[in-house]
């Protein structure tokens, strides 16, 4: 666009707009910054000042405390396990189903597509699903956190659409060279789909790490609770983290409850913050693929 005269009103609007957006951007991350700084606080500091962004003295006691307790360390282990295995299961189920569904010539393809779409519109609901999980003897097993969500119908359709858009010529050439169907998927289609697969790996992984609902429904045994459930126990129900203080330095003073809570929140969010930069590179594209009709 050619440069043109900007009225005073437009300039005022621009200044106002940049300012408002800046405030909104900061507001989005501010609560989290407060929690991070609060997690390093000492008792003295918390009683002295209610709100602060930069602590005057940094103490790692809250973190030392939570990593000394069996309950939290174990729940972090559960969450990591479910995230890694669960994401692998998600990818396997999604890719194996999306690939055949992308073939326009496959007999029964439309029936299957409609079966999948119908599940997006209507579901059995909480209780019938719970009873199925119970009948399958999955209650109180970590598989109950993995299998019932093995495929997201929405993601499946996006991946299917992506496969469908790949050029048929490459596939035909590979077939002429004697490539089998599985070879085609493994050697041609998957390498070409790296961006879309990366997006869904991250989405599925974040979903598993953040999952609270399934664990609430299907896991009663506290030793199998993932971190999100443990977080609720400690922060909202104020259940003590019950650390093993005997193994600690005798001079160790138990950190204030507020900073322990904040430290647990930080630990529950940290993995997300670590993958966020990678996530961010991909997701706008991934989400857009979903909004394209088809």
């Amino acid at each position: 666009m050619a440069k043109r005269y900007r009225s005073a009103g437009e300039i005022t609007f621009d200044v106002f707009n940049y300012f408002v957006l800046g405030v909104i951007g900061i507001a989005a991350i501010l609560p989290f910054l407060f929690v991070v700084s609060g997690s390093f606080a000492t008792e003295a500091e918390i009683t002295k000042r209610a709100v602060f962004l930069i602590p005057t003295t940094i103490s790692f006691d809250a973190y030392r405390f939570i990593f000394s307790t069996d309950t939290i360390v174990r729940s972090i282990g559960v969450s990591l396990y479910v995230t890694v295995i669960g994401t692998a299961v998600n990818l396997f189920f999604t890719v194996t189903m999306a690939y055949p569904m992308a073939k326009r010539y496959l007999m029964g393809r439309n029936v299957i597509l409609n079966l999948v779409i119908f599940t997006m519109l209507f579901g059995g609901g909480m209780i019938p699903t719970y009873l199925v999980i119970r009948e399958l003897q999955l209650l109180d097993t970590l598989n109950a956190l993995i299998l019932p969500g093995a495929i997201s119908a929405f993601n499946l359709i996006i991946v299917k659409n992506f496969f469908q858009e790949l050029p048929v010529e490459i596939e035909e050439a590979a077939r002429i060279d004697g490539c089998t169907e599985l070879g085609l998927l493994w050697k041609i289609v998957l390498p070409l789909s790296k961006p879309v697969l990366a997006t869904f790996t991250l989405f599925y992984a974040v979903g598993h790490w953040n999952n609270f609902f399934s664990a609430l429904l299907y896991i009663n045994d506290p030793s199998k609770w993932p971190l999100q459930v443990m977080l609720r126990q400690i922060v909202m129900l104020s259940q003590s983290a019950a650390g093993d203080l005997s193994s600690m330095d005798p001079n160790f003073v138990q950190p204030p409850e507020q900073s322990i809570k904040m430290a647990v929140i930080v630990v529950g969010t940290l993995p997300i913050m670590c993958v966020y930069p990678f996530l961010q590179k991909h997701f706008a594209k991934g989400v857009m693929l979903g909004s394209v009709k088809g």
Partner: protein, 322 residues
Amino acid sequence: MKQGAAIGTADIHAAATYRSRRELRFRRLKRDKWLYILLTPGLLYFLVFKYVPMWGVLLAFKDYQPFLGFWKSDWVGLEHFRTFFQNPDFFMLLRNTLVLSLYNLVFFFPAPIILALLLNEVRLSFYKRTIQTMIYVPHFISMVIVASISYVFLTTQGGAVNEFLYSVTGSKIDFLASPDWFRPLIILQTIWKECGWGTIIFLAALAGVDVEQYEAAVVDGASRWRQTWHITLPAIRSTIVILLILRMGTILDNGFEQIYLMMNALNREVAEVFDTYVYALGITQGAFSYSTAVGLFKSVIGVVLVLGTNWLAKKSGESGLY
């Protein structure tokens, strides 16, 4: 098949195509056998975890007795529905659900649209990207973390917000236990968590607007407000309608996790919605049939709402979802 051929030949011809069609089908099955093998795990997943539970909604019409099991329990028809509609809880649930949805529609739904319009006016692409990076973050944080952060800040026992209030006004407000604060808190959490993320789809729609239209408008002397009103907004209208349809379908879904996490004995009266009620009665108290009936009522209304809004959207000239 060709019309006008002699009857005899036509019959022979039909029989021949029939045989070859069956053969063709078999040949195609054989040729694509690997594709069907690949499909199996996914299909099994949908059957076991999606279609078996759908069939399980029949529980709503039975009087499920754990020791008798699904098959031997008695059919009771619509009795559970009747009990539910006569229960005073029904109106509480309906009111809470609808009020929360209405608040969402009024306060949350327009927020990403406005934010996207503001972002779209930013010419400095570095600034725009930075803001986007910041406002997408909360979407990836779990609801438990969101509720936890609310708790540590709002609690009357050393929560920063209350400490601050105390130092200024000398009194504290129990945000977490007060029925008056429940709805504003829920909406604020939703806006904080999802508003930025919601802009993605509108920004994409805005990016698709033809630049020439703006240039023509500038030539015609349109101000930026006029451009927004006559070009930008009409350009994203269909996206808004589609999202509105999707929102209608989930009007009875108020997000189980969020409400469950923020609900307590003191604010239950305004907090309890269909999903939390189903959980409380079904999972924690074992009233499977009754809570299945409540859940089924909710899903059916949901489907009707989606189809209804979609129909309306089509009637008014939008493309709709289906």
